[in-house]
């Protein structure tokens, strides 16, 4: 899944992959969901299981680069840039496999390749997927792991909504209408954000999934406290995160015109937004386990 290009604004291929996956696997799931997709939802997908009380949001899109003029590149979202990173894509002349170049003085971004690329071509990190007994490492674990978590959650889900959103890495733009639709159609206004966070001095790999008490925004305390009580009672390993910056799909829930409660819950990764994102498998396991409990008890 990390090999499928899905830069913000051009998520189509991953949307199709997820739709195919759902079609192929839903027969084995505990409950068959109602599948909402198509042009009214742009490249997003909503899966509705039973009588939902809570919605899980996982964003499909990733960071990347857009070809500007000459050999210039412009960022999609906030990728780390280092000279020598391998970038891939496709334009009118075929497949592309080039190298990122960062100007030492100006920080300006360009590419090194044997030909010029079409204006507007999107480039993403080349995927070098590495797995050990204890870790997974690749570009775009943020947020393919959040998507993976949401799809695995579907297997046992009885009542709940799973949402696959777009544009999270670049200014948002889909959660506002998805949240409105879900609230107005199903009356649901409790959300969990299935996304990946950062390893920091307070959140260490292997110590369990992180429950974020705040990032640049502050969720409603009463809702987060309920989640903390359920997590504590469950015995599932978890860590509490407190940040002053960063954001997620929750920004659009917070600022939208429905009274959503939300909480970011995700495994921490190191080497954020680089081709070498790395996550401890135990944190992925506790992430899924905690979502399975929360979606039942919230």
């Amino acid at each position: 899944m990390c090999q499928i290009p899905a830069p913000a604004g051009h998520e189509t291929q991953l949307t199709e992959f997820v739709l195919r996956y759902v079609q192929q696997h839903q027969a084995q799931w505990h409950t068959a969901p109602k599948i909402l997709a198509g042009s009214e939802f742009q490249d997003c997908i909503i899966l509705v299981f039973g009588r939902p009380r809570t919605a899980v949001f996982a964003h499909l899109d990733s960071i990347g680069f857009t070809v500007r003029y000459g050999r210039q590149l412009v960022r999609i979202g906030g990728p780390v840039a280092e000279t020598g990173y391998r970038l891939v894509g496709e334009d009118s002349q075929g497949a592309i496999d080039c190298l990122l170049v960062v100007d030492d003085h100006t920080g300006a971004l360009s590419y090194d390749y044997h030909r010029d690329l079409d204006r507007g071509t999107e480039l993403t990190f080349y995927c070098d997927f590495r797995e050990t007994e204890t870790t997974v490492q690749s570009c775009y674990l943020d947020n393919r792991l959040g998507v993976w978590n949401a799809l695995r959650l579907c297997e046992t889900l009885e009542h709940g909504i799973v949402v696959f959103s777009c544009w999270e890495e670049h200014g948002g733009g889909s959660v506002a209408y998805l949240a409105k639709y879900i609230y107005e159609t199903y009356g649901v206004r409790q959300a969990l954000i299935s996304d990946i966070t950062w390893v920091t001095e307070g959140v260490q790999p292997g110590q369990g999934v992180a429950i974020s008490l705040r990032d640049s925004l502050i969720p409603r305390r009463a809702y987060v406290d309920r989640i903390r009580r359920i997590a504590a009672a469950s015995g599932i390993p978890h860590q509490l995160e407190v940040e002053g910056s960063g954001g997620s799909d929750a920004k659009e829930l917070q600022h939208g015109a429905q009274p959503w409660d939300w909480c970011f819950i995700g495994a921490p990764e190191d080497n954020v937004h680089s081709p070498d994102e790395i996550v401890d498998k135990r944190d992925v396991e506790s992430m899924l386990a905690l979502y399975q409990v929360l979606i039942k008890e919230l």
Copy 2:
């Protein structure tokens, strides 16, 4: 009221205080309002009087600090930070009364206390309420005075809406849905923002309530001009404010999907966002008097 902690995201205690106050006092009010509160409105409250044409917005929340890792603090909103400010709060081990510490070199925030505090604990300024014949001084006059103004306005209100909102100091998040609900239910799209502004070279204490012609956003001129005409005719002392920065609950009205007109009208304070906010009583009086006139004539 300044002693009740209500940092953005955790306004519950002040919400309960206002609800109790309304229950206890509404029998003495000219008109009994319809009270809208509860989980569909998170920690916000809407009071509807008669056949409303205009809504008054007063935010409940205040600035503060969140405990991060070790002894680190992260800001809630934009509090002034000086070493030695007294901060209070509560965590799993009980009541907290500690001191703020600002690193001279890095500006990093921490606390000085005999024990470590729980992650995610909110701290607010210790309230030292000081009153003279002409002034009130305390932390959180912004926006307890706006709330006070709204509650006093209720006493004589015949037709109008009074709204108590949340998260104003930290990115917003409630006015979008409150504004949508009010517009769709009552057709009201005229707003007054009952909040506190700054003493500047152009707005002096004791010269009357400030009518803001703009801050970082620009309200619709036609609406502000109507308010200026009513204010001029009323004879109530007031000042005209023009700023290029700053914001209020009006941001969400301006950016929401309803055609709200809005105007910020509030007394000016000095020592903004510190424990020593100070306001001239005459400006508070003219604020209430002007709201009483405007809510009738708009």
Copy 3:
């Protein structure tokens, strides 16, 4: 049209001009539109032709300055400021014709005039309209040319919506409700942004209207690709633009609670946001020609 003052928040005069123009000319148009205006739309106008599938957004407002205290000025939007620019306006004492002054050291803005101006007075660039065989030059081509393009498009329009919006230059505030109204009433969610862009190394005057593949936001690739195919097949001269910054009315479409697709299509200008904005007439012609094709084929 460039002489009519319409700083963001005070568009009334231009709104009235456009309404009068529509009343006077619609008899000659192919199709008579339904005209939506009035207080429910603040100072905006919506024209609905036939059975619309696509909406064209042109913003009425311009950049400018607000008088603060003393002789200080505050920006409306992002005008270029150079000492000596001629500014005009009106206050309680009558018409104003003054000069802009920029402090060499602080960059602070003020005005040079024989008297003090009222607080909150809006000033706009004096209009020196210059036309050659190949160019037009004036302040406020951004966005009077976009408005002109939209009005000329009306002449031949059979099915479509034309929207005149406000506040685009200063934080937005009308497109959110216009977009909601249009989507809910007509089911339309395809947009073209009729606005003016920048001459850059990749977008040259005289080479045709610019189709923007992205600015600070990224439109949905599938929609932009459809537009590119129609433009290529049409034979109308056009250029592809790729930027990492800048924005338009599309921001509110992207962030609103409806699944709008959008694309910015506009002639490039040089001397952006100055009194000397200049556009090549061929680019204006190809802009109108491309809109005429797109509104039919999208």
